[in-house]
Symmetry: C2
Subunit: 473 residues, 2 copies
């Protein structure tokens, strides 16, 4: 192993190959996952500065049969970017590759390295008067390479799609250390299999994304935010349909939040002043991005909310008067996970269901859980516009959180995932598989699909050195 470490030091420089040999070096930032569910031990943390260095590192590791765990901002939620505890894997941290290589305004694209922090890309685009629409809670520290590796979702998917839908080309280092130069930035290219989409969402198990060509959009003239109280989940779905009709592609956000979830925000962060939640079982946050003017956008929102009230799917609503108020509403939505953590440990799910079936899913699954666990509390919120719920399960009032997790986590997961399967949904909507859910795929994924996945993995990484045991069990 010492030979490999010195080879890697020769490639990246001594300062960029960190090991436990130096007892003053703390590698926990790279070895511990974000949710602190798993703590691994790395042979080394390697921090290349260029695609050529990544390729050389992979070749060296392939020659030594040493496996590689690619890592961006390490903010993933499914234990996908940390090493196992054997001390034999290297963590390939991409954060030094953080250049914006080019912005092409006429082509509406930017070419960026994998280690760029998402928020920096949003800012770089905005400086050019353009929008990079990917937006999610971890944007201050997650990297675009990680977003691509996991096909991250976020809050504007209803209009702009997931990360994969924003990507036009990739540069990738393969398991044998070859470089695929695919950074074309073309909107149309039908010269063979779509390797781009195969790499995106493969969580570093098929290749290492070193750079990407991403789509940009014109900056909207204005973004308005509204908050509506709705009498039922079915009413929320009806409101979504009306919003699609009335706002067209102006609809860039549609978040649903359950009363109990908002109650937790109200309880733990009373200064946030959650509106309208006491009178309705669900609230919806809507965002309208308009290419014209604030007057136009307000007119559209008013027409939508008027029609919705007439149809009975909205009982009350407010439209943010200014950016400060709009941010305040989004802040409430984003505070749900934190409020939930304040309340105690809970069992998290990131599921998707066809939008049309969500009302029945929620009703049935709530009832099933309450039947099994009297008093259980459901923290249900999410991106209803994409059919994506964060359907989280909190211990009954006063119950011990740790005991609840120990006794119930596996059983609750099974119950919820079985329901998801019954409703043709997905057990991982936007977070990915990682190590956390790899074991679930044989049961919940179509067997033919899983067999194809295994065949592709064997074909592209025959030594199984790229992020082994992630995604595929």
């Amino acid at each position: 192993m010492n030979t490999l470490i010195s080879t890697l030091r020769g490639i990246c420089g001594d300062a960029h190959v960190l090991t436990h040999d130096d007892p003053t070096t703390d590698l926990s930032a790279w070895e511990q996952d974000w949710r602190k569910r798993s703590r691994g031990q790395a042979l080394a943390v390697v921090r290349p500065a260029s695609t050529a260095e990544v390729a050389a590192v992979v070749k060296a590791c392939a020659a030594a049969s040493t496996s590689i765990v690619p890592q961006g901002g390490n903010t993933g939620l499914v234990v996908g970017s940390v090493p196992d505890d054997t001390g034999t894997q290297i963590v390939l941290s991409m954060t030094r590759m953080n250049a914006v290589r080019a912005i092409d305004k006429d082509n509406l694209t930017m070419t960026v390295e994998a280690g760029c922090v998402l928020q920096n890309l949003q800012d770089a685009a905005e400086k050019e008067g353009l929008l990079f629409p990917l937006s999610l809670a971890a944007e201050g520290s997650c990297t675009i390479g990680g977003n691509l590796g996991t096909n991250a979702g976020g809050t504007q998917v209803v209009r702009y799609g997931n990360t994969r839908d924003l990507c036009l080309g990739l540069e990738v280092v393969t398991a044998s250390g070859e470089v695929w130069h695919g950074l074309t930035g073309l909107r149309k290219d039908n010269t063979g299999y779509d390797l781009r989409h195969l790499m995106i969402g493969s969580e570093g198990t098929l290749g290492i994304i070193t750079a990407a060509a991403m789509k940009l959009y014109p900056l909207p003239a204005v973004q308005l935010t509204a908050w509506a109280a709705v009498p039922s989940m079915a009413a929320a779905v009806q409101l979504l349909g009306l919003a699609h009709q009335k706002l067209g592609p102006g609809l860039t956000g549609f978040e649903v939040m359950g009363q109990f979830a908002l109650g937790l925000v109200d309880k733990h962060y009373p200064q946030l002043r959650v509106p309208l939640f006491k009178e309705a079982p669900w609230c919806v946050l809507l965002e309208n991005s308009d290419s014209e003017s604030e007057t136009h956008a307000r007119g559209q929102f008013e027409a939508l909310l008027e029609a919705a009230m007439e149809a009975g799917c909205v009982s009350d609503a407010v439209v943010a008067e200014n950016i400060g108020q709009a941010r305040g509403l989004w802040h409430i939505r984003e505070s749900i996970p934190l409020a939930q953590a304040e309340e105690g440990l809970n069992i998290k799910h990131d599921i998707s269901i066809p939008v049309s079936r969500i009302p029945a899913f929620v009703q049935e699954t709530d009832a099933l859980l309450l039947q099994h666990i009297p008093g259980v509390r459901l923290v249900n919120f999410g991106h209803l516009g994409d059919g994506n719920l964060h359907y989280n399960v909190q211990a009954p009032q006063g119950a011990d959180g740790k005991a609840f997790l120990r006794d119930w986590e596996e059983r609750v997961n099974t119950l919820v995932f079985d329901q998801v399967a019954r409703f043709n949904g997905s057990i991982s909507a936007e977070h990915g598989v990682g190590e956390l859910k790899a074991g679930k795929l044989p049961h919940y994924k179509d067997a033919t699909a899983l067999a194809m996945m295994h065949a592709i993995k064997r074909a592209l990484d025959p030594q199984n050195i790229l992020n082994p045991r992630k995604v595929l069990p």
Copy 2:
């Protein structure tokens, strides 16, 4: 072989397995490609009626090591859906699988079988008050399975993307005759590798698409069409940027047409009355799809065209007054290939280039061609909004078309494709590879990408029975 044929007859019924044994049966509709560039001979044309029949047919063929050429409407332009001339391949015609299995209005999806004709899907969506936005010249006879197999483009890509961007899930029969049930209709599903995008655009070489879940959109309230004369290709690109800014996602079409191309329409179809082309080297057709009203859409178009004239990138423009006029303008655009055929044989290209580099590409490549072939005429038109040009090369005035093709086709292809490569473009933007361009990939495709494609093909179709010699040379 007689054993196989009788097995296939047992699966699909005698009437749906056509062979040359019956001399009255004419198989040319399945054996001859659309552009009449290649005439093959099939062992049989097999027409299954269900996914189970497709799976059984594939199993029988796999057992007999007989290769399968999947076929939809057989309107492809790159010889991708016809058999070779050995008489040993079966054509698997999907046109009997033409059911719309479901339309889910709340989920904005429809589940359709591969053999559905595109226009029927547009109509089925419209009946529900929804839009299925894929639109292309062959829509009256092409099938959605073929659109998916080739990742077809068309005229609304600037807003809605290519066929792959409209697909949320697939049902596929693999090379071993297993069925992947992936028709979820989910907008978010991160449970493993994206097999959907791998199958889309693989031209039937990795699996046989039997059904798909496709996205629907709200019907726009109005679609307006404008026609603008622009002083240069650079001005057309500038106009595109302004249109993105002013119309936002309302911009659903942006087609550029060269003066010579429009002159051919004027010459061969004078009744179409081509506007403005005599005074400008390029015309642009713009489409604005609005979710509000005609008044609103007209106001937007007027503001755009005013700004464009002020900026000097439009010299004159008309906005269609009614649907009849709008159809007339689109009809002119769609008549270019026909007018070109009236004028004589020509060398066709379907290329893409980053939008920002198109003006320089056209200027340089035009000059190069004129230098090599004095008097050569360039029929240049296409989807500028996507960076996609149909950059076609017509013999000099009075020259013999056949002799021109014989002497020049290969040399002109090389010259144009080398230019495309220099400008980081694609030699096949929306038509695919088929047999026609398979031989070009080793030269123009990234070697690492090509190696991955081969590895994936071997992994998913180890017997090489699915559309062999298409895509991969």
